[in-house]
Amino acid sequence: MSALRGSELGSLADPAELSAALDVRREPPLRLLRFLRDMLRIRIIEEVVAEWVERGLARAPCHLGIGQEAVAVGVSAHLEPRDRVFGGHRSHAHYLALGGDVYGLLAEILGRHDGVSRGMGGSMHLVDRAVGFHGSVPLVGATIPIAVGAGLAAKMDGEGAVAVSYFGDGASEEGVLHESLNLAATFGIPVLFVCENNLYSSHLDIAQRQPSDRVARFGEAHRIPSVSIDGNDVLAVARAAQPLIARARAGEGAALIEAVTYRHRGHVGPKEDVDVGLRRSLDELAAWKRRDPIRRLADAMLAANLMTPAAFAAHERAQRSEIAALAQRAEAAPYPPQSALLDYVFAGAAR
């Protein structure tokens, strides 16, 4: 399959390319195992959520990032709890990759009081400052400048913390990205902009929305170091993020990573939605599934004898049963009390 006319991303956006197993020779095995475990955990959790939506248990809009797990896992490898991470409508992975609380997320998605946002947020409004996740909300692009402000606070603190702003290619069409990049560059703010370019904004292909599919050009225009990488290669993501986060910590300012990826499901909900977009077809989806970030890492680890097929299968089974138990507990958790409706309008309740 060839890239569309006007593609500046080239092979990065072409699912026929870059589907081979990753090169894991230079990587510490423990790190590879952690990446695999974290991506798999996120995948399984989102599959549980997909099933909940199908069964009508989860009613709030759920935007699944199945297929995109490598981005958050690769970036988070270099983050610390003191950092300040912000996301958007599709942010389960952003939270979980920080070591987020699985039960708290699942309970939140069902609108239960045990949830990370006390059942007031659902899938699209998550927060857990203990792991550095300061908030995700669905207004497209809204948290980009908020992350810049969190980075400004980090700069004022002077202790080397950084802010991270996750957003999609759709958000790069909001004017606020330009304002935010300019502010971050001009004031030398330690913020890492991470664009998950999955080539679609809701139903519209990026070719129908922009003259170029390469979002990194916006960072370059603001004199911010910017890279476009294969977002389905967790090692490439981690390698790209490491020096950019390090230089932000050292007071050298903002950077941008454009991680090209693809979501297996539709914009919202569990369906694959193959019937929308300029080029989104069953063929294209099948090609991107061959470029699956989890499979590419697992295949490489199997080939390098870092694990056996039986051990991998047993690990997956163990994760599935652990998550199923947490899901069951979330299904039985209480809803917020009626008083919550007014209690949280203003500050004052315990935080």
Partner: protein, 334 residues
């Protein structure tokens, strides 16, 4: 004994900043024109020199990003004040104010509190026209989770600014350039809890309750003095905080005076004056007032530029006197 020194409203705001920045290292100010008196009048003079340009930050022309950045900083323990030298331009930042700051506490189950203060300046007159004149307090008072503060006196300009910044909630603090020369002697700062600040009774009276906020409260005070000369004994209520509004003080006053006039620097439809009338009608019942209640607002037109039209556009104390006299059936010299 010498007269106590009088402080102007504009300087009182500056003193509020000075107090906050001297006593709390987490307070900073960010916005356009903060290093220039041309934008913010006397209200921030030399703050950048005293506290450094890292704490008094003049910014690119990016209302949206700067306001949202203040939210981000507040989530990380700072107490930012975002300054919009004209409220009209602040409309480019409605998303961070209405969708973000006002909602994060609720949406995220009270786990976070964006404790930023957004300072919007009403700066009108002088043939500045429709996009340099608006007072859109009513829009923002509509939104749960956002406190809206409108000082009318120098003391409130200082002390409510301090209370706004110390409050854990997002606050929209609206000051008015037409009040900058209004002066009074100021006592020492006393930190107040914004959550318990309500209406102030600026004048006691038994014939009618005049309600206003910001510059309109000042008009009410001026009109009340003139009306006293006509034998009308006005009670003046300065709303001070229009969301959440202290309804009890207004209701108590109206139940005594049994007459109501609200002066509002905004437009009439779905406005602040309408809200006060609705509260009184709803809470006190159909026979509570002895005259039909009155709203004095801007005409339903954008602000004109031409001086000839501008003069009739804005209500004055005389407008209020004539309208109230007519409302109560009192004679007024032509």
């Amino acid at each position: 004994m010498s007269e106590p020194r009088s402080t102007s409203y504009g300087d009182a705001i500056r003193q509020g900043f000075e107090y906050l920045m001297s006593t709390n290292p987490k307070v900073f100010a960010i916005g356009q024109g903060l290093w220039s008196p041309w934008y913010v009048g006397s209200s921030m003079t030399d703050l950048d020199r005293k506290f450094g340009r890292e704490r008094v930050i003049d910014t690119p022309v990016s209302e949206l990003a700067c306001t949202a950045a203040a939210i981000g900083a507040s989530l990380c323990g700072y107490r930012p004040i975002v300054v919009h030298p004209r409220m009209d331009f602040m409309l480019l930042a409605v998303d961070p104010i209405v969708n973000q700051a006002a909602k994060w506490s609720h949406m995220l189950g009270g786990r976070v509190a964006p404790a930023l203060t957004v300072r919007a300046i009403v700066n009108r007159g002088g043939e500045q026209g429709a996009q340099h004149s608006q007072s859109l307090h009513a829009w923002f008072a509509h939104v749960p989770g956002l406190r809206v503060v409108m000082p009318s006196t120098a003391r409130d300009a200082r002390d409510l600014l301090i209370a706004s910044v110390l409050c854990d909630d997002p606050v929209l603090y609206i000051d008015d350039r037409w009040l900058y020369e209004r002066s009074e002697p100021l006592p020492e700062v006393r930190e107040r809890d914004l959550r318990s600040e309500g209406c102030a009774r600026r004048r006691l009276g038994g014939d009618i309750t005049l309600v206003g906020a910001g510059y309109s409260a000042y008009l009410c005070e001026q009109a009340a003095e003139q009306l006293a000369g006509l034998g009308v004994d006005c009670e003046v209520i300065d709303a001070r905080v229009i969301n959440p509004l202290d309804e009890a003080t207004i209701l108590e006053s109206c139940s005594r005076t049994r007459a109501l006039c609200v002066v509002d620097g905004g437009w009439r439809p779905a406005g602040f004056a309408s809200e006060v009338l609705a509260i009184v009608a709803e809470q006190l019942g159909p026979s509570a007032l002895r005259a039909a209640p009155l709203r004095i607002t801007l005409p339903s037109a954008p602000a004109p530029t031409s001086r000839a039209l501008e003069q009739s556009y804005y209500p004055t104390a005389e407008t209020v006197v004539r309208a109230v006299a007519k409302q109560l059936g009192v004679g007024v010299a032509a």
